[in-house]
Amino acid sequence: MPKPIVQIRELSKIYTRADNVVKALDNISLDLIEGEFVALMGPSGSGKSTLLHIIAGIDRPTRGRCIVQGTDVGELDQTQLADWRKDHVGFVFQSFNLIPVLTAFENVELPLLLTSLSSRERRAHAEAALKLVGLGDRTHHLPKEMSGGQEQRVAIARALVTDPTLIVADEPTGNLDAHSAADVLTLLQTLNREWNKTIIIVTHDPKAASYAQRTVHLEKGELLNGDGQHPSPHISNLKSQTS
């Protein structure tokens, strides 16, 4: 049986705003397998982005554990988390989030500045990543000189340039037209299929989710199974795995 790369156990996230207590995630358990392309789906406020943020180490659970490749990310302090993200997570955001004063090449090179790679090695890695996303000829373009689809492809190149354990994408097609969205999703699918990248995307678009191998549904902070039932068959196996 393939080894899970992400193990989520009885995970809850509770926000307290003044007198209001909001359960964003409620006792969730889930496994993600290495090389899997998973879509987290659900309506607004279902907790899918919160779950993605916790898996990616940019948010912390209130209760429960999130173990990624053997590391319980909830146990790490801020500096350790930053270091962990650098090595294990590549981010793709809905609004691309490229640094506007840097060219496509420099945006892709940015995460590599935190590594011990030489300038020449950084250049080689960044160029390879840009070629991989089909933007080898746009290296010196600033984000404002590119289309939305191209910007998102640069963001994908930035996400994969450090060869992370996970690529997480929060609504990666939310700001794109249908054609560009299809291009981006196909690219993610290719990265998964041909490069065995573990990819988790958050989306509320069933069409986008159809590119994934597996869809995990959330609603009101709880996991639903594939056809809206609760609990999902996948989760039911977890207890036997963890016990």
């Binding site: 930053a82 650098k86 955001f93 940015l110």
Partner: protein, 387 residues
Amino acid sequence: MTIPTFILRNALRNKRRLILTVLSVSVSLALFTLLQAALHLLTREKPMNEESALRLVTRHKVSLANVLPEKYIHRIERTPGVRAVSRFTFLGGIYKDESQTRFAQFVVDADRIFEIFTEIKVDAQQQQLFQKEKTACIVGTKLLERNGWKLGDKITFKQGLWPVNVEVLIRGAYTRASPDEPVDENMVFVRHDYFDDLLGKLGLVGTFWIRAESQEAIPQVIQQIDSAFANTSAETKTETERAFQLGFVSMMGDVKTFFGSICAVIVFTMLLVTASTMAMAIRERSREVAILKALGFNGTQVFGLILAESLALSLCGGVFGSLGIKVLLESLDLYKLSDGNIQMFPVPWQAVSLGLLVAFALGVLSSIVPAWTSIKTTVVEGLKTLD
């Protein structure tokens, strides 16, 4: 791309704001450096040079307004450790009218004055003429040029401080012995014997200027001169040239506190400007800071980026302001530009260094709050920030 390139790109993203901030820091730091230079000039304890360190001034113990008998010169001359002494009286005459008399005239001993002020250079022939002719005078080269005087011209100083009109012939022009010497080339030296004749041989002197044999001899010379005239009707006070100059400065009040207060206001205003700029720059980039953190930049690294940007901005202002004002003042002919009012305005390296130090401190202080806020904001909160 390197980290410094990244910092530079960030700093240059809003060019108008960058230019305005650097300009405001530059102008403020230029003013700060000028004030520090003026304060240094006015309150510096050390003499200007070695020659100056050997000079002493003997004046009336009560005040500068009181005069001394000229016969004191013989007793002073005989004091062990004295190499040369000259009578030295402020003439305070009026040339044409008061508005044109923006220079000092001094009554001196023609045969000794250049032994005391060795940083002054006069042509040997002109010096001889000054020593031969009672009505001769020596003027500073810049003063000569400014007034369009020529050697041989007759000039008259109408009675000002003293009740005599002094008519003299320009027989020489002095200049500084070396370009680095801080010599005022805006003075006139008139002979004491001629002045005394005009006064009807009253035998009065404002001060005596002395050149000591060595620095070691100075305390003894001071003690011996003052005790020689103790319990006379005109007791003396002998002090170093620098102490004598500082006495003038102290007449203006507490210069240090006054200049210090202005400097403090300047620094505080600059801090507000740079802190506001950095706060604006970082607030606009909250989302980008969050992205950097998501990519793996930790709190210290983010702080480093913000600090470096802030330092680059303030040090830029420091270099343009503090160093710029030194270069500017040294390259301009201040004498001409100020119509003779400002002879020179040396900006010491201490003032420039202090300016740069203030710029550095500004950079650090103005980055602390935005950097701290950025570090404390979580990635998720930062990503929610609108562009």
